[in-house]
């Protein structure tokens, strides 16, 4: 039973992670630029 619950939790976490990665990709954002900015618009990147 616990195995199934943990499995479900992991699947949800994976979906959330996947969504974050996709969102980043779609919005052209990169976590490593710092969280506040969209990279193409970030102060030292964008032009």
């Amino acid at each position: 039973m616990a195995t199934y619950i943990l499995g479900a939790v992991l699947v949800v976490a994976l979906i959330a992670a996947g969504r974050h990665i996709y969102r980043n990709f779609a919005d052209d954002k990169h976590d490593c630029c710092g969280t506040e900015m969209n990279c193409t618009k970030c102060p030292h990147c964008g032009k």
Partner: protein, 632 residues
């Protein structure tokens, strides 16, 4: 509710972004060097029932629209016609700053003058008679110290209460404009005309300044004294290296590493043990236990261990950025950069590469010539970004416990040297174009604003944490799956897994490098997706097996198991070769994607992936075989 559009303009490094951040709560990058902001950025707030939009503009010296930044500023001011244009001036440098002011007035743009940096002006004994200045220009004037809350409050009140329609350029300004127009109408040659107009402007500024500014007891200039040592021809470069070395000692020896060790002990010890015990008591299936303990904790935990290092390093770099030293670094390194066909200006985006290659590659847009930009884009990924840091730190701590900081330092330097060599090679062959000149105003030394430094550190560190929780987490699950399954389903023998098959293929390339194990091969592959994955892969592959097989006997922590596994898989020399390879090989997919976008070509992306792999392969081979020849 009526709305109000405010735009912040001014010379570079006068505190526009500081004001913008204070006003809107945004986190624009602030640094003590000119040219930090290169694009406009909008933020919102409300005050006294009014919705205010504020735009932070890049700093400029003039509005000739010669550089992209100038174009952004003048386009914005003329086309968007904000209700209130704030000209932010450095009060301790009024003469120079007013040069932009008068140009804006010539364009018929009414201005609110913000005499910023009052604290510094006071220290230099500079006093500005704001009444007279306002009268001389016909424009409203306000005084601020951007870092203080009360100044910001004042500024907001001024924003909402100032009716720009009430202000008209003074008689003096109108006379100046008339003279300039007279010159333009005459038939002077372009160069001579330009010169005449500049003369006019300075004459105007002189007369304004002599009327309104007084300097009492010129204090000795601290910046000059410091620069006599730090930016002096002989001592500058050695001191720069000392400075970098100190940053490394702080990060990898004194402050960061002890914290990372403590975290590692916790994750590998109590955390793993208690999770294992809990899962056991819940009677969770063995494979799920392995997935959670070996896969998620081993993979994500292995990367999280290095978070303290990241934070400390970012803190140090951000701190240096605030002192004004970085602008000196641009000067100090200019001769070296010139030798490889770049300029000192290129050091700024390059230094960003220590954080992440992505913004560094994009930051190359600030470089003047196409050649500089392309070269910079192609060499930046050689540097040690925050994601490669864990690889270096992991191997250094394991194989050089007494010298970890020095070994990591050496790896960072190797990255820099390779970047320089590659720039030289690319400059001499692929891109040939004359190097551009480089002018950079040296800012005064300042004590960095702690709030700015901490916010920036947190911001970047948080990005790293988010990455660990998302992409590294997903990668860890994937690696665990590939490492524990094959076409027949789950396997006890990792050596027969999908990952082993993939890794074995890759490892064939490293027969002469000393690390031709499938585990290393697999780490090289996963590392292309995200460099942290190299560490996750090692964590999952070497931290595995024993624990799940005989949980009761797991007196040894996962960390020590991993160490013993890695210690047998690598010799000291092959560990060095692996570090060298990891340092230099193909950038991660995100960086590759950025290269594609910035160069606009798949060709350059492919080139960069291939040539970096080749260079890494050769250098790592030389290091390994050379080391063996010398008897290591």
């Amino acid at each position: 509710m009526s709305s109000l559009a405010v735009a912040l303009t001014g010379n570079p490094n006068t505190g526009k972004s500081t004001i913008f951040n204070e006003l809107t709560g945004a986190r624009q990058k602030i640094g003590n060097w000119p040219g930090v902001t290169v694009d406009k950025k909008i933020g919102y707030l409300s005050h006294q029932g009014r919705n205010i939009s504020v735009v932070d503009l890049p700093g400029t010296y003039s509005v000739n629209a010669r550089s992209p930044e100038e174009k952004i500023v003048i386009d914005y001011l003329l086309n968007e016609k904000p209700d209130l244009v704030v000209d932010v001036l450095d009060s301790s440098n009024l003469e120079r700053n007013l040069y932009l002011t008068i140009q804006l007035l010539e364009q018929g743009i009414p201005l609110l003058l913000d005499l910023n940096m009052q604290d510094e002006a006071k220290r230099h004994g500079i006093r500005v008679d704001t009444e007279k200045l306002g009268a001389a220009l016909g424009m409203p004037v306000v005084e601020t110290t951007a870092r203080s809350r009360s100044s910001i409050k004042t500024l907001l009140d001024v924003f909402t209460s100032t009716m720009m329609e009430k202000y008209q350029p003074s008689e003096k300004v109108r006379a100046h404009i008339a003279r300039v127009e007279g010159l333009r109408a005459g038939n002077l040659a372009a160069d001579a005309l330009e010169e005449k107009i500049i003369e006019e402007r300075y004459a105007f500024i002189d007369s304004v300044v002599s009327e309104c500014v007084s300097v009492a007891g010129a204090s000795s200039d601290l910046t000059e004294k410091i620069d006599a040592v730090l930016a002096n021809g002989w001592t500058a470069l050695p001191l720069f290296l000392v400075m970098l070395y100190a940053v490394f000692q702080i990060t990898f020896e004194w402050i960061g590493q002890p914290m990372a060790d403590a975290l590692d002990d916790f994750i590998g010890g109590p955390l793993t043990e208690s999770v294992t015990a809990t899962l056991e008591s819940w009677e969770v299936a063995d494979w799920m236990q392995s997935l959670i303990v070996d896969g998620v904790i081993g993979g994500v935990g292995g990367v999280l261990t290095f978070v303290p290092l990241i934070f400390v390093l970012f803190f140090c770099l951000s701190f240096l950025d605030g002192t004004g030293y970085m602008a000196r670094v641009a000067f100090i390194t200019d001769p070296i950069m010139r030798r490889v066909g770049l300029t000192g200006k290129g050091i700024m985006p390059l230094m960003m590469g220590f954080g992440c290659a992505v913004p560094a590659i994009m930051g190359a847009r600030t470089l003047d010539s196409e050649k500089d930009r392309m070269t910079s884009i192609l060499v930046t990924p050689f540097l040690t970004c925050g994601a490669k840091l864990p690889i270096m730190a992991l191997f250094a701590a394991m194989f050089f416990p007494d010298n970890a900081a020095n070994v990591v330092f050496a790896m960072y330097i190797l990255g820099v040297i390779m970047a320089i060599i590659a720039a030289k090679l690319l400059g001499g062959t692929v891109f040939q174009e004359k190097g551009s000149t480089f002018l950079l105003e040296l800012p005064p030394y300042r004590i960095p604003d702690m709030k700015t430094v901490l916010l920036e550190t947190w911001d970047k560190g948080k990005g790293y944490l988010i990455k660990a929780g998302t992409i590294i987490f997903a990668m860890s699950v994937l690696i665990w799956f590939l490492g524990n399954f094959n076409f027949n389903g789950m396997t006890e023998e990792m050596n027969e897994s999908f990952l082993a098959a993939l890794g074995t293929g890759m490892s064939k390339l490293f027969i002469f490098h000393g690390f031709d194990t499938w585990e290393a091969g697999a780490a090289v592959i996963t590392g292309i997706l995200a460099k942290e994955s190299v560490v996750s892969t090692m964590g999952i592959l070497y931290g595995v097996g024993e624990i799940s097989a005989e949980a009761e006997d797991a007196v040894e922590t996962a960390a020590t198991l991993m160490q013993s596994g890695m210690a047998t898989a690598f010799t000291t020399m092959s560990a060095v070769a692996f570090m060298v390879f990891s340092q230099l090989y193909t950038p991660c997919v995100t960086a590759l994607g950025t290269i594609k976008k910035e160069t606009g070509s798949w060709k350059w992306m492919g080139f960069s992936a291939a040539y970096m792999f080749a260079i890494a392969w050769v250098v790592s081979l030389l290091v390994y075989q050379g080391g063996r020849l010398m008897g290591f």
